[in-house]
Subunit: 453 residues, 2 copies
């Protein structure tokens, strides 16, 4: 009987995930993962093994210690052993029969990743992303980010939106004004999409309600904690919207569904950061026009309501966020009707010539989403584009959609990194992207290392 | 009573979708959509209204006909009227009380899109994408494409994969050999990702199982029915894979789940094209090594098994696909162990020095997916990269991941457009992408219109 068991151990090939070990108490198993920590106490070794589902302590004898004590943490191991319930304690242990080294690590890991917190400068964290991402708190950020993507898509599909793939390569800049990256496209120039704006509006003519999750690119000249050159936008566009409040209602339902999903699936990840999800109001999110917001701020903080344009500065945004939390118990707030937009596709408010029909969803003072009510009239679009000196030929497809019938519509755009940043209260947007591009880096690696290739 | 009803009609604002009209028989409704067709028979007009959910016939009187007869099809209308069940017929009609023109179309639509089939050259179809996409058969293609995306993601999540966002901007080409697009990145050069390869392998060290849906770019010099410069890849990467057959098993389950989803949700769309989903075998998909495939082809078609390299030409692929259908009742077939790969990350077969540990999933003779078993040994990777003359500094992050422990692993990549193309048996890959980029076009628009900007 015992011989059969040993034979089983050495031929056993099926791996047990650490989270499933409790189904194998008093049995032999094969576990595999990374050596997270190794403590040696006399003739006993305690190896903390990590896989994608958790941690387990593996107990080694003197001979086994000798076979792996030259290895550094993060070595990848496959371990056969016997699962026991720890006496007088919660949790399980694996008493090791055999260790196979899958990938030995011989140099010391550049950043200590087996402590509760990563004690390193952000630059160091990004320089060593492939290793620092393995820290539990770093993993938590990107697990939740994956959860946001899933929940957004499911919510949009439930609201009747159809997903489409928006092109990255464009023949002309998608937004006037904003800086754009140029691509050498054979003998021509192409541009990296600054937004899926043009395409999502075209697609309203096809499916009425569309969404896309897509990378967008801005050739920013700034190196701040807020700027990235490549981000992920989660965009929606809705046809047959007469009053943009109908669009706000949809967005509120989507935000609630995202939060439900995170609440149900990622409480452990949020706890690691001692954070809770932003507070949602009981019913509709509070709404305030920029004009009204400035009045409230004047009353509240004694700051003058006079601004050169209908816009809020960062201090205003914080003040009005405080107001929404006090008055409505909500971390979220709609700020409506900013100054007339510079883009060609936003409707102005027919009742107030200063205002555009625009909306930002602000959470704890940070913009999560922005959107506008669109112009659907072909002639008005042509007029606006001409006034901006745009070459109409480059927008042939866009204009064709409107020439042949687009309903009144509205659209919006979530910033994935900003949502992630704020849920975890991260100081720098770079913490919320796996491989950030900025003035110093491309996809996480320092540009200086690339020079001109 | 009747007066109250009329008042209701004119103040009614809530739109009823055409698919829901059967819940409103003998009631007033507001419907909105596109004028798909207008027939005038004496004093009666029959307007076929289309929204995203279906079609309904609206019956107009002489005065109403006068108010819209100057409009072309695709005009966007909002119609108030009374729903009745057609006498002696299936289906419903709306007897119109009031018509509001949301967007008038005054020029004739460039391609007839209200016939059963789009009778136009592919170039014309793409030139007029914003309009031609509204044809029911075109819509079907992209609805199913959205369904593939949803089903792929759900299946991957069920298999324990975590989604991540792979960067598009890279500091160095992601694949040696293949042509790459250059981006002017301030004073430097960046490159558009040719694949998420580097990043998905790094992420195996973090989450073990990862997937991403991402645009990839190839600066192809060819203008064929098979080449596009921007496509969507659906990629997966799996850690702790000792025998790549474990990876094939996962992929087979994912394909089955995608097909289940399409079968349950898109039968109407497939019927429009008179197509059925490719045939799946009862159990595992048939597998054949390239070497064996060449022997089978020799026997079957008398074509010599001698090739300069271990590879199949398009005729071979068709022949071996026929064989799989005859022998296994399967439109799918694994072709295994191609010639040693030129890339630096694929394992060779330790038992046969000619072969790499690689796999293609072929459906009806077209490659849907390719993948390989990866090298996880840091020193071997460094050696391969040096042999290829790659600058190791550009792959700093990639190499760091392996230096600090990556398990044996395998990965794969589905081509979204190819899957879509073959499900609908489309002749040209361009039919399976909304806004194709090729030698003549960027995002669907002709390059000649852009010249040098």
């Amino acid at each position: 009987m015992f011989i059969v068991q040993l034979w089983d151990v050495y031929t056993m090939r099926e791996r047990t995930l650490i989270k499933d070990l409790n189904k194998h108490i008093d049995q032999y198993v094969l576990v595999a993962g990374w050596m997270h920590r190794l403590r040696i106490l006399g003739k006993l070794g305690f190896l903390l093994l990590r896989d994608s589902t958790g941690f387990v302590q593996c107990v080694l004898n003197a001979q086994q210690i000798d076979s792996i004590k030259h290895l550094q943490v993060e070595s990848v191991l496959s371990i056969r052993g016997y699962v026991i319930k720890k006496p007088d304690k919660e949790g399980l242990e694996v008493h090791v029969s055999e260790i196979e080294v899958i990938s030995p690590v011989l140099d010391q890991v550049p950043v200590e990743i087996n402590k509760d917190s990563l004690d390193a400068h952000l630059d160091t964290i990004i320089d060593h992303r492939p290793v620092t991402l393995r820290h539990e708190k770093q993993k938590a950020i990107f697990k939740v980010q994956a959860g946001i993507l899933t929940a957004f898509r499911n919510a949009m599909i439930e609201e009747g939106f159809i997903e489409f793939r928006s092109p990255v390569l464009m023949g002309a800049p998608s937004e006037s004004g904003a800086s754009v990256f140029e691509v050498k496209y054979y003998d021509h120039k192409a541009y990296l999409a600054q937004s899926p704006q043009v395409y999502k509006q075209i697609m309203v003519g096809v499916f009425e309600r569309v969404f896309t999750i897509t990378p967008v690119f801005r050739a920013e000249k700034h190196n701040t904690t807020r700027h990235l050159m490549e981000i992920t936008q989660m965009d929606g566009e809705v046809g047959f919207i007469e009053d943009y409040d109908e669009c706000l209602e949809i967005i509120e339902r989507v935000v609630r569904k995202i939060f439900n999903h995170l609440d149900n699936n990622y409480s452990k990840e949020l706890q690691l950061w001692n954070t809770t999800l932003p507070q949602l109001p009981a019913s509709r999110f509070p709404k305030v026009k920029v004009k009204e917001a400035l009045q409230i701020i004047e009353k509240k903080a004694g700051k003058s309501a006079q601004r050169p344009e209908l816009d809020l500065d960062p201090q205003d945004e914080r003040l009005i966020a405080e107001w929404a939390l006090e008055e409505y118990g909500s971390d979220f707030l709609w700020i409506l009707n900013f100054k007339k937009d510079k883009n060609f596709y936003t409707r102005n408010n027919p009742e107030d010539p200063d205002e555009s029909l625009s909306f930002d969803l602000v959470c704890r003072g940070l913009e999560w989403l922005s959107g506008t009510h669109r112009i659907h009239d072909y002639n008005k679009l042509v007029e606006n584009m001409k006034n901006q000196g745009l070459t109409l030929e480059y927008y042939e497809h866009y204009l064709e959609a409107f020439k042949y019938g687009i309903p009144y519509e509205a659209g919006f755009s979530f910033g994935l990194e900003r949502m992630t940043q704020q849920i975890f209260r991260l100081k720098n947007i770079r913490e919320a992207v796996l491989f950030p591009s900025d003035l110093d880096r491309i996809a996480g690696q320092r540009i200086s290392k690339h020079k001109t290739v």
